[in-house]
């Protein structure tokens, strides 16, 4: 008989070595997350996947699943906390969805829709951040970096390059590249590197490709982030949302 945990009262099987996130996703239970990608070492930095395990809050992406855990995921309090975290991510950078080329394909935007985030709540910081367009093919827009370290991990673990790192602490935290000049053009990055394509926001981009995917064909035009994430993880299919819940764009079908 397999071991189980419960999430919001639902019995979920798990195997030794799985995190709560792994077990939940495999069972078709979505826990919001930004810094987590199943193929990379968990980092636990964005805190969006915070769940309550036997009365104590912890990150689902780093916390191992253990027999007897009673986990709360979709509580009003946790959803509100996640919304606040997302709002803080928005105000800390410069995220202008209306003109951003990542719009419709952006996990930060999609998770904000999922959490029903309707405003920033907190005052915008308007930080003065640079665009590094020095490389011929790849661009960093630091305005949109949320320090998830996915590019750091992808470059190290998959590309074997160590192009990226996070430097500084607290509000001075920032993404740096492995070059004395501090410029992307002096690193060994290549447009085909996994690190370039892993960014959940529009901070790392392949140049001159923006807006090529028409509205209606972008990742989150017709599916919410939970549907997309669960489908990608290979878990069992989830029921489609009613059309009124569709996010990101208008329905392209005529006569709506």
């Amino acid at each position: 008989m397999s071991k189980t945990i419960t999430i919001d009262g639902k019995i979920i099987p798990f195997e030794d070595g799985q995190t709560i996130m792994d077990a939940a996703m495999a069972a078709g239970v979505y826990i919001p997350h930004l810094c987590h990608q199943p193929e990379f070492t968990p980092h636990g930095s964005c805190k969006l996947c915070t769940v309550n395990v036997n009365g104590r809050n912890c990150s689902a992406c780093t916390f191992p699943a253990l027999e007897g855990q009673d986990i709360l995921n979709e509580t009003e309090e946790l959803i509100e906390d996640r919304k606040k975290i997302t709002q803080m991510l928005f105000v800390e950078g410069n995220h202008f969805c209306p003109s951003c080329e990542k719009t419709g394909n952006c996990q930060l935007q999609a998770v904000a829709y999922h959490l029903n985030m309707l405003d920033n709540h907190f005052p915008l910081f308007y930080p003065d951040r640079e665009v590094d367009a020095s490389h011929a093919e790849v661009m960093i827009d630091h305005n949109r970096c949320i320090f998830c370290t996915l590019c750091v991990r992808a470059s190290h673990e998959k590309d074997g390059k160590d192009v990226f790192a996070i430097s500084g602490r607290g509000i001075h935290k920032h993404l740096i590249v492995n070059a004395k000049s501090g410029l992307l053009k002096d690193t060994d990055i290549d447009a085909s590197d996994q690190a370039v394509h892993i960014c959940p926001t529009g901070a790392l981009l392949v140049k001159r490709t923006g807006y090529q995917v028409p509205i209606g064909e972008r990742i989150y035009d017709h599916k919410q982030i939970d549907q997309v994430a669960l489908a990608a993880s290979g878990s069992r299919p989830v029921a489609a949302l009613p059309p009124s819940m569709a996010v990101g764009t208008e329905n392209i079908k005529h006569g709506e």
């Binding site: 140049k207 001159r208 923006g210 028409p214 509205i215 005529h254």
Partner: protein
């Protein structure tokens, strides 16, 4: 002409009347009048009081963002900014208009016809028809599209549906009714599916019929109020716009043509990439909007009007039959080479609505709009200029980029900017001829707004003179006495005036 009313002497002794905000226009503007003891108008100005500054904050952004970023200038004519920027960035990837894939060119034209149709319909039916149907000095409760829908339901509903159709064209081509994507450097990101094409074809004949009816309506309104409609706020000016190589009306791409008040050609078939050799802009301290003029005629005489009146005046013919017949009738009514009536902007706007509806039908029946060859690419360039006939007139987008694809310089000459001098002159004229010496009432002041509204100004599009704008800063004490004054001149020099 009433240039002397731009700045009055003894301003402190005059009574101030303000129309703020000017309503039923896009953006925020106000009119100020200074009156003497006999209520005679001594000064009349249209001030554009908002400031946008797009020219500055698109610097530092990658060029492929431009069509999507700059269209946020406006919610009424975003497609025009989208396409002007797209034409400019086509050049940055080495594609001139003649090298754009045929399908992309036709899809962009379809998108633009949808845009002009919806913007013109919005302006005529929603914003201006209350003035034209109920009278300029009618009761304020009647001066809205709601009253039009109540008293002239057929006209009101046709207007709403015409606009909706234009927006559906935009949605099918660019994904959204407002602020879609669509145009990318060197082409388009999608073509129309057969289902989308068929959906738009369903209603196009009805749209053509309603457009033709709206031309008949404005002709009736205009001609039954002669000579008032030919004289109200009317200016004998130069006109500027794009035309096709054969002189036909053109909205998407052509050479610059300017004619003077007698219909004589000033410039013709000018490559718009050389616009800087022909058009300059002047700044003044009391408004955020610049004043463009034709260099060859100088600041004083070189100003011109743009928009539907300029286009219909300037072109030799229109290449769709119903609109061409309407143009011939329109020109015949005045008996002059050029029609100068400011209220004739409305008539010409509706002739263009008809032209757009006819052109949309032609394009929808063209299989190229469902083609798959959508993007072309050439050799990188560092400067791009895109010019288009937006609903409100000729729109210039000019960008420079560096070797990293980042925008380093931008200049936008927005349609409404070109009509700035004319709108001010029309305001001064109405103030002098209809308001001066009379006890001012709210309905009477609407005459000023009717004059401005005829130009269909988009005030929020048109205010970008950052860094060049002369400004005056006054510190006033509790008694209203000026205790300090800083003046920034247009060359950037700052002077303190303690006099």
């Amino acid at each position: 002409m009433y240039e002397h009313l731009e700045t009055a002497e003894n301003r402190d002794s005059l009574k101030r009347v303000v129309v703020d905000p000017v309503s039923r226009v896009e953006g925020h503007g106000k009119v100020t009048l200074l009156l003497d003891a006999d209520n005679k108008v001594q000064q009349a100005r249209l001030h554009i009081v908002e400031f946008r500054g797009f020219e500055r904050f698109i610097q530092g952004r990658p060029y492929w963002e431009l069509p999507v970023l700059v269209q946020r200038l406006c919610g009424i004519c975003p497609v025009s900014h989208h396409l002007a920027a797209a034409k400019a960035i086509d050049q940055l990837v080495g594609i001139d208009p003649e090298n754009l894939p045929v399908s992309a060119d036709k899809l962009r034209r379809l998108l633009h016809f949808g845009q002009v149709l919806q913007s013109h319909a919005l302006h005529f039916f929603h914003l201006s028809s209350p003035d034209l149907l109920f009278g300029f000095e009618s009761d304020i409760s009647k001066r809205s599209v709601i009253a039009v829908l109540a008293e002239y339901p057929d006209i009101g509903v046709q207007g709403v549906k015409l606009r909706k159709y234009g927006q559906e064209v935009i949605r099918m081509v660019s994904g959204k009714r407002i602020h879609g994507t669509g145009a990318i450097a060197g082409g388009m990101n999608k073509s129309l599916t057969k289902a989308e094409r068929d959906y738009l074809l369903e209603d196009i004949d009805q749209m053509i019929a309603w457009s033709a009816a709206s031309v008949a309506l404005i002709k009736k309104v205009h001609c039954s109020n002669l000579p008032f409609y030919d004289e109200f706020a009317t200016l004998r000016t130069n006109y500027l716009g794009l035309t096709k190589p054969d002189g036909a009306l053109e909205l998407y791409h052509g050479g610059i043509r300017a004619k003077n008040e007698h219909g004589e050609t000033i410039i013709d078939h000018i490559d718009y990439c050389k616009y800087n050799d022909y058009i300059h802009e002047e700044v003044r301290s009391w408004t955020y909007m610049k004043f463009p003029y034709l260099l060859s005629l100088g600041q004083e005489n070189g100003w011109y009007r743009v928009g539907p009146l300029a286009r219909v005046n300037n072109c030799d013919y229109i290449d769709t039959p119903l609109a061409e017949a309407a143009r011939v009738e329109f020109k015949a009514h005045s008996g002059e080479a050029m029609v100068h009536s400011t209220l004739a902007f409305h008539w010409t706007r509706l002739i263009e609505v008809l032209h757009c509806a006819e052109s949309i039908k032609t394009l929808l029946n063209d299989p190229d709009i469902m083609g798959s060859d959508l993007v072309a690419q050439g050799e990188k360039r560092y400067e791009g200029i895109g010019v288009i006939e937006a609903p409100r007139g000729t729109l210039f987008h000019h960008y420079q980029v560096d070797e990293n694809d980042i925008v380093t310089k931008a200049n936008l000459i927005v349609s409404t900017t070109s009509n700035n001098m004319a709108m001010n002159e029309s305001v001064r004229q109405v103030a002098a001829e209809y308001l001066s010496g009379r006890e001012l009432t709210e309905p009477l002041l609407n005459n000023l707004e009717v004059a401005i509204r005829a130009y269909d100004p988009c005030l929020s599009c048109a205010t970008h003179a950052v860094g060049k704008m002369p400004l005056q800063l006054e510190l006033v004490d509790a008694e209203g006495k000026v205790i300090d004054k800083l003046i920034k001149h247009s060359d950037g020099q700052i002077e303190r005036d303690n006099a």
